[in-house]
Symmetry: C2
Subunit: 726 residues, 2 copies
């Protein structure tokens, strides 16, 4: 339907409206015949939505309902219609879209002046159209973009009415009248700043632009520019984690795009060493198989296929022409109905895409990048290579989890060593109205729900979020050297009197078909403690290497608080050496074996989440816990090995059992040396000096062989013994 008109008009667009790309080389290769199927689908989808909306007429109800209710959803549909209607008018020139947007906004012009606090407000941050001021800001960001596209078609009286009664009022409400929110250094304030600033550009109101950029006091201590400096680390990491980074990014990118178009001399995309584009690329890096790494309160079904990233990728592509962003758009299968979306879709269709370089990265946390870090260790490439994530970042505010020095592992397109994410079923009425569930506090945030140290069955910082925000881990070392990637960090203060240092590596090991994950956690304390080290994984157990006492007819719970009340105990065992201390599981077509060095007197617990959950709010997922009652200090030494293949179609299975014979850990002169011996007899050491000086020489004797290395950590092949017997 829309396609013929579109093809004609997209030519006009390619020539008449190049404002956006003013500072860029002209898109010389653009021609009317150039296909852009992704864009055309977007336009068709938008037109279908507008048809549906227009069929219902202009419906602008008096706000009454909270999130999810009728008036809430209707005002959301309306801002979407205003935004898309404006874009469609711009692209097709069809007057019906301009008329619909105009009528909608005239209706808002009547409603808006009558509004006070929303009747369903839950706290001080009431909106006007919505129960929360944040939603009002989102409404403004979308609507002002639609208005911009049709404002020039209006007769003066109508334009004035909409300017004054809708947008000036909304901008005033979000800034002066909601000063507490507007002054924050927080993504809610970014949404408000974006709405206010973009309104300023559209109405030609420099004061609005100024307060949006520099804060109500115009001193630059708050406002959009300050937010770009404080909300992202120098590496473009957002402290709440990728799930919220995705959300926070949207107003940054959209407002920056507007600033660039209206005020190119400001060079907003170069501000702070190009932080906004860096943040966009970092957001993409923080995905696996397209899904955001589930740090903190994250919903695990959230992927790059989300509106925020359609906008972000298109804007970033228009600005940078980075062809690897085209492959992201290809994975998304969507774009946006804007000039940037058209450009992207055309270049994608022209075959310009190259693979996005998902790569190893160290991402510092905090405004100065020194509040811990997230280290990504990757092998392979593309969306489904191996990704070891060590989360050594800071707490990340209220949505943060008590998971200091936790890790996650992804392989073969799947989650292998997992993070629970948030306990929430978004917008599902039966699940506490779709809000965070009680189990988000009692399970998902607790330390034991993560792959990291638990001391005395307590969570980090005693579960005190305020305290947690004051102390970050320290990244000690990072190396992305192919074949021996390493990340090491230390955490002090999460548990009183206990310090723990965790060194993780992704090593190519002779005799193994896949890179090996190595995990050495050194725990130091002067007093006795019970230490638990859980490993949460996905898959079906194939083999347990040691004897178990199983709870097969009644299943007890592991503990009573701090998440332990949610753990069913399947079985316990007490392996005494690493030849037997292992667990093999199958996920997809690959096998995984976790193996560890059992400390004297330690025990192993095989368990599952889901106890004390009468509402069935939790997913039931397996875990294995190493537990040791220690007189103070101890070392947990573990490896995770991917091996073999299960091919159900061909009915062939290879290497379903671990290819490792033993591992051991030796502490020599302050260094930790982990030795892996494969069943084929090869021996590989991973030596950690904990000495950041790259030049200092270290040595340790293993089985009579002297190992020498320099620097913090090193993989060393140990020569054969001359005989494979022992």
């Amino acid at each position: 339907m829309i396609r013929p008109a579109l093809l004609t008009l997209s030519l006009a667009l390619g020539t008449a409206q190049p404002a956006q790309a003013a500072a860029e080389p002209a898109p010389a290769t653009v021609s009317v015949a150039q296909p852009a199927p992704l864009f055309e689908e977007e336009i068709a989808r938008s037109a279908a939505f507008l048809d549906q909306m227009m069929a219902q007429g202009v419906v602008v109800p008096v706000p009454t309902d909270p999130g999810g209710g009728y008036t809430h959803e209707q005002h959301k549909r309306n801002y979407r219609a205003i935004y898309l209607g404006g874009q469609l008018f711009k692209l097709t020139g069809e007057q019906k879209y301009a008329d619909y947007v105009r009528d909608m906004l005239l209706s808002y012009a009547k409603l808006y002046p009558t509004l006070g606090d929303h009747p369903a407000k839950a706290n001080q941050n009431s909106g006007r159209l919505f129960w929360q001021v944040l939603n009002d800001a989102v409404w403004l960001v979308n609507s002002v973009q639609g208005y911009e596209a049709i404002r020039g078609t209006l007769v003066a009286a109508q334009r004035k009415q909409i300017d004054d009664q809708v947008f000036r009022r909304a901008a005033r409400f979000l800034s002066v009248d909601s000063a507490n929110t507007f002054r924050r250094i927080h993504n809610h304030a970014t949404w408000a700043a974006a709405g206010v600033g973009m309104t300023g550009y559209v109405l030609g109101d420099k004061n609005l632009v100024n307060i949006a950029l520099n804060g109500l006091e115009k001193d630059g201590k708050t406002g959009f520019l300050r937010q770009t400096e404080l909300l992202f680390s120098p590496d473009g990491y957002y402290t709440e984690g990728p799930y919220y980074q995705r959300y926070a990014l949207m107003p940054f990118m959209v407002f920056a795009d507007s600033i660039e178009r209206n005020d190119p001399s400001r060079k907003i995309f170069e501000h702070r060493d190009g932080i906004l584009l860096k943040a966009l690329l970092t957001t993409v890096q923080l995905t696996y198989n397209g899904h955001f790494l589930p740090f903190n309160d994250a919903l695990k079904d959230k992927s790059l296929r989300t509106e925020e990233l359609y906008q972000g990728v298109a804007i970033a592509y228009a600005k940078t022409r980075d062809p690897s962003l085209l492959s992201v758009a290809e994975w998304q299968g969507r774009t946006v109905p804007t000039d940037a979306g058209l450009l992207l879709a055309r270049d994608l269709a022209a075959g310009k895409a190259i693979p996005f370089d998902f790569t190893s990265k160290l991402l510092g946390d905090g405004p100065n990048g020194n509040l811990g870090a997230v280290a990504l260790l990757r092998t392979g490439s593309g969306f489904t290579g191996q990704t070891l994530v060590t989360k050594n970042s800071s707490q990340g505010m209220g949505h943060g989890h008590f998971d200091k020095l936790s890790w996650q592992y992804y392989d073969n397109g799947r989650e292998i060593v997992t993070d629970y994410g948030a306990a929430r079923f978004l917008n599902i009425e039966a699940k506490q109205g779709g809000r965070y569930l009680p189990e988000n506090e009692s399970w998902a945030k607790q330390t034991v729900a993560h792959n990291t140290l638990v001391v005395d069955e307590m969570s980090d910082f005693g579960g005190d979020a305020k305290l947690a925000d004051t102390l970050a881990p320290q990244q000690l070392y990072y190396s992305a050297t192919p074949g021996e990637q390493v990340s090491s960090a230390i955490m002090r203060g999460a548990f009183e009197g206990v310090t723990f240092t965790r060194t993780m590596a992704l090593l190519d090991v002779d005799g193994l078909s896949q890179p090996l994950v190595v995990d050495v956690m050194r725990v130091n304390s002067d007093t006795p403690h019970t230490y638990d080290l859980p490993l949460h994984y996905m898959g079906q157990i194939m083999r347990v290497g040691f004897d178990l006492t199983s709870n097969v007819t009644t299943r007890p719970v592991l503990g009573s608080a701090n998440g332990y009340q949610h753990i069913w105990v399947d079985a316990k065992g007490a392996p005494t050496d690493s030849a037997t201390a292992h667990l093999t599981w199958l996920l997809g077509d690959r096998f995984y074996t976790a193996r560890w060095v059992p400390q004297a007197g330690s025990e192993t617990i095989l368990a599952e989440s889901g106890a004390n959950d009468p509402e069935f709010n939790l997913r039931r997922e397996p875990m294995v816990i190493q537990r040791v009652n220690s007189s103070g200090s101890t070392v947990f030494a573990s490896v995770l090995e991917a091996h073999g293949r299960y091919d159900g179609a061909a009915e062939q299975t290879t290497a379903s059992d671990s290819q490792i014979k033993t591992i051991r850990i030796e502490q020599i002169d302050g260094s930790d040396v982990l030795v892996v011996e494969t069943i084929s007899g090869s021996r590989t050491a991973f030596a950690i000096s904990y000495d950041a000086d790259p030049a200092t020489r270290h040595s340790a004797k293993i089985d009579g062989t002297a190992l020498n290395w320099t620097g913090f950590a090193k993989k060393i092949d140990i020569p054969g013994r001359g005989s494979s017997h022992e």
Copy 2:
């Protein structure tokens, strides 16, 4: 590498070797330029495999190992190399392939005469090359096809040596020397017949062909032709179920293809009303989203992407040119390196595919089609529509499950109401060497592991497989009328003194967005019993409509035998009306609500599989069980409703709660009338007279309104009450 040569030679193939399609119209549109990417990939894959094999030279070890062991796997690789080497020689004319196949077979000619019973034989059915005679038959079926392709290139002495020392000996071993197997009416005998018969054609030995077709006694009481008559029902259903049907089909199709080429006047594909092609189409029908319905001992990862079906689909396409088979091949993404595969790949690339018509079907079981049936009730189309499966078939021999009148339900591309399938991890050494696990007997086969009636915590026939084979359900009624599809069956004798009749329907109901599954099970007995009706489902519980007593800190087991020992009890409740007797879960982006009419004094058990499983051999899957202590007869009335949408990307959720207000069941003059009332107030009755006469009139009064219908079952909209209040 292989591609240039291939393109030249595929022309030769299109003209010089049309023997296969002799009875078909010439492939007039075939030309050298016609692309066939699926076929080219197959050739490349085969060539890569042959390269690898040839690099290792001819390796024909003396048989020593059982299944999975080295010599076992090597002889499997060898027959694959002989088969593919022959095909590659035929296609490319490259002598190296013929030489390799020749050398391999000469090596077998030395080995074969030296062989007696396999040293690892497990029972009387020892093979020569393999531990089981079945594997020897598969070896012969494959190898003789490779030999056929190169036999003409051999010098006489070598040909004689291979003829006599390999193929004549193998054919004799599989027929005369293994007469017990050869005489069976069983798929093992089909493999043997195929190998012997195809050898007869290749060697020009009419006697071998004759005994293959008509049995050792040549009287037609056994042999291939008799097998086609007895192993499939007239509807092409194989009594062991689709997982084994897939496997059994291979020798049928391959041998039939050979018969057709060598003896077209026999019209093998028309034999018994075209049973072989019918069986192929039925096999495809018995899939959902490409995966075989997991009847009986089935591995659930088995899909159309399997060698047997690549062969079957290609042969059937070459014979019928049914364009819907091309879409099956497209889903498979594979074909075979034969003339049939080339034809299929060309026509697929030429865009001739039309969607395969997955449709509602009644498939009778047994040689005469009267030993029960499988009824498929479908809506939507393609691979992912709604599919309600009522399994009213017979036991299906030793791999059969005690699941009389069970059902399964598929929707939105997923399993919703599930069947456990087999408890087995094929070829995984750690899991009992990859054999069926003990839990296959103790759980997977038991009645309570299925969605059907359990009496007094016992399985059908007391778990006696021999007895089970003597009594089949009786299909009472089937209708594929759009909007009101119905299947009804009765089972007598599965439980002493208890008869049960189950009527299931897939109904379009006013006020519901998706077709509704209706389930009315009438149980008749003169003596008191405890009846359990389990529903095994996939998904996360969103809402339970009634109060529960939950086992949140210790989890007990439901029973002690017949599968009950494997059931953990999460919670129990005792809803008293259908307004509260419901359970809503989420799977993928859709919600499902099971709702039922609680009988007086009944209780409901929410549970999970996985108790008494110290080896972690079971998957842990949820179930809900309706339990009633009855004085004798009772009726279970239930519905399953798909509703709403969860869109994580757009963060929008619609209709997450059931759209049904109540259901009720009334027994009136021998009829059962189920009434569904939606929350929008519409009422729909489903009336079952149990009277197969389509003309007889029936009536029942519901809320003062007379419902009239003819025939076995009917959906009836009940007019409004004039007021929606009550």
